[in-house]
Amino acid sequence: MGCTAADVVAALRLAAGVVQEHRDELVRLDQAIGDGDHGENLRRGFTALLSRLDTEEPASPGKVLKLVATTLISTVGGAAGPLYGTAFLRASAAVGDLAELDCDAIARALQAALDGVVARGKAVVGDKTMVDALTPAVAAAESVDGSVAAVLSAAADAAAEGASSTVPMVARKGRASYLGERSAGHLDPGARSTALLLRALADAAAKA
C-alpha cells in the first residue's frame, strides 16, 4: 500500500505540529552554536504551510511536496529555507506524477532530497550539518524492504543516530563554523530538525 496525496498532507500536518512542539529546543540548540533563529524560522514556515494546506488540495504526492517547497522557500529564510526548500523541490521532481508513493518512490525522494541539500549547501558528512542526519537516513531507506512505514521508520532511526553523531563534531559549514573548536559538544540544530521531521513522517505512515 502506498501513500496518496492525502496521506502526505496528513504526514506534513503531523510534522508541522512536531516543529511547533520543538521550536524552543531548536532555538536553544541554535543559540549555542549559531544565531538562535532555526526553531522560529521553521515554525514560521510550517505555520504558513498549514494555512496553505487548509486552502489548497494538491492532486498528487509530488504536487504536495512542491507546495511544501515553495512555501518554505518564501517564508523560512536563513539557511534552512533554501535547504529544506530545495530538498522538497527535488523530492517532488523525483516522484513526478505518481498517484501513490511506494517504498521505491520514498527512497528515491529521500535520495533526491539529499542530493539537493548537498548541491545547495555544499556540505559533506562530518561537517556538522543536516547532511549528517540525511545521509544515513537515505542509506537506511534503501536497505529496507517492506512497508512505506518500515522504510520511513528505518530512515528516521538512522537520522536520529546521525544527528547524535554531530555532537562531538567541529562545524565546517554554516554559522557554527565561526566557532571552530568551540562548536564541538553541541548537537547540530539542522541535523536535529531533519531527524524530527523524518520521525514525524514515519509516525504518520505507521498510523495510516
Binding site: 543559540q31 538562535g36 522557500i73 539557511a79 533554501p82 565561526y178
Partner: protein, 330 residues
C-alpha cells in the same frame, strides 16, 4: 525582556511602517513580500543596487535606500536572511533596464537565498559577496569570512558609481575592488536579545568582552577580560592592519561603528585612539565615518573597518547621497 515592541511576530513589519511614515520622500515600503524601494524607482538606464539581510542591523540596509546608494533593500526577519522572492521582487521593482547588482553579506543563508533569487529573477542580476571580517579564518573549514562593516562602505561607493551612470560590469568590478581592500573586526561588551527568542544570545560576565563577534549576536572567537579603550581598539586594529596588510603611506577610510548600545561618547573616544594609532604607523586617514550604521540590536560594543582608498573611491565616497541614514552633498 524589555523592548519597545508590541508583538515579536510583527516587529519587522511594524518597524517598516514607521520607516515609511518617517521617510516617504525617500523610499516606499512594499510589504508582501517585504522590500524597501527608492521612492523614484525604477530609475531608467541606471544599474539597480540592491542589498538585503536580516533585520536588527538598522540602519543597514533599509536606511541606505535613496539617491546615491541603494535602490532597494530586502529586510528578512530579525537576524534571518531574506527569502528569494523578496530579492526577486526587489529586482523587478527597480529594473531600469541596466541590470541589478546584488550586494550579499557572506553568511550561509544569505548566499543561498540570493543565489536562488538570481535563478528566479527575470532581468540580469549579478552578485558581489562581502567578506571583510578578519575574525574568521577563511579556510576550507569555515563558511568563510563574514560580511560586516565593509558592506556599508561598499554600498555607498558602488551606489555613487551607479548614480553617475556606470554600467553593470563596471559596478561589479568596482565592488570587487572594494571587497579586496576592506577589512573589519568587532567586539561585544554585552550580548543582545532577539525579540522572538526573549533571552540574551550569549552569556558574558560583567568584566569580560567577546572579541571577533559577528553582527548576529553569535559569539566570537575569544573571550577575554574587558580592558581599557586603548586595549580594545588595539585588539581590533592590529589584526585588521596585519591582514590586508595596510602599510605606511596607505590612504584609508576609518569607519568606527557602534553595535547599537554603545553611546557616541565612547565611540568618539575609541575613534580618536584609532586615528592616533594609524597616524603613528604612517597611515593617512582621508575619510571617516563614526556612528551606529551596522548594528546588532541593543548590543554594546563596536567594530572598526578600514578601507584602503584610491582617488576614484574617494570621489565616489564624496559624491552626493540622500538616504535616511547617510546624507551629504544634497
Amino acid at each position: 525582556m524589555k523592548k519597545i515592541i508590541n508583538d515579536p511576530e510583527t516587529v519587522v513589519q511594524d518597524a517598516l511602517r514607521g520607516m515609511q511614515a518617517a521617510h516617504s520622500d525617500l523610499l516606499s515600503v512594499h510589504y508582501d513580500p517585504a522590500v524597501v524601494v527608492r521612492a523614484d524607482a525604477p530609475v531608467q538606464g541606471k544599474v539597480a543596487i540592491i542589498s538585503g539581510g536580516g533585520s536588527g542591523h538598522e540602519p543597514l540596509h533599509g536606511g541606505f535606500v535613496g539617491r546615491g546608494m541603494l535602490d532597494a533593500a530586502c529586510p528578512g526577519a530579525v537576524f534571518t536572511s531574506p527569502t528569494p522572492d523578496q530579492v526577486a521582487s526587489a529586482v523587478s521593482l527597480t529594473d531600469g533596464g541596466a541590470g541589478a547588482l546584488l550586494i550579499v553579506k557572506n553568511y550561509t543563508g544569505d548566499v543561498m537565498n540570493f543565489e536562488m533569487a538570481g535563478e528566479l529573477a527575470e532581468s540580469e542580476a549579478r552578485s558581489v559577496v562581502v567578506d571583510d571580517d578578519v575574525a574568521v579564518q577563511d579556510s576550507l573549514y569555515t563558511a568563510g569570512r563574514r560580511g560586516v562593516g565593509g558592506t556599508v562602505l561598499l554600498e555607498k561607493i558602488v551606489g555613487a558609481a551607479a548614480d553617475r551612470g556606470d554600467d553593470l560590469a563596471s559596478c561589479e568590478a568596482l565592488a570587487q575592488r572594494v571587497v579586496g581592500a576592506v577589512r573589519s573586526m568587532g567586539l561585544a561588551l554585552t550580548a543582545c536579545t532577539v525579540p522572538h527568542v526573549g533571552t540574551p544570545s550569549f552569556e558574558l560576565a560583567d568584566d569580560e568582552m567577546e572579541i571577533g563577534i559577528g553582527i548576529h549576536g553569535e559569539p566570537g572567537r575569544q573571550r577575554v577580560p574587558a580592558g581599557s579603550a586603548s586595549e580594545m581598539v588595539s585588539a581590533l586594529l592590529d589584526p585588521i592592519l596585519a591582514d590586508l596588510p595596510f602599510a605606511s603611506g596607505d590612504r584609508v577610510l576609518l569607519f568606527t561603528n557602534s553595535m547599537g548600545g554603545t553611546p557616541l561618547i565612547e565611540l568618539y573616544l575609541a575613534h580618536g585612539i584609532a586615528e592616533q594609532l594609524l597616524a603613528d604607523r604612517g597611515i593617512t586617514v582621508e575619510r571617516r565615518l563614526v556612528g551606529p550604521y551596522i548594528t546588532s540590536l541593543e548590543m554594546q560594543g563596536m567594530s572598526l573597518t578600514l578601507l584602503r582608498l584610491d582617488d576614484e573611491m574617494i570621489s565616489l565616497w564624496d559624491a552626493p547621497v540622500h538616504t535616511p541614514a547617510l546624507r551629504w552633498g544634497v
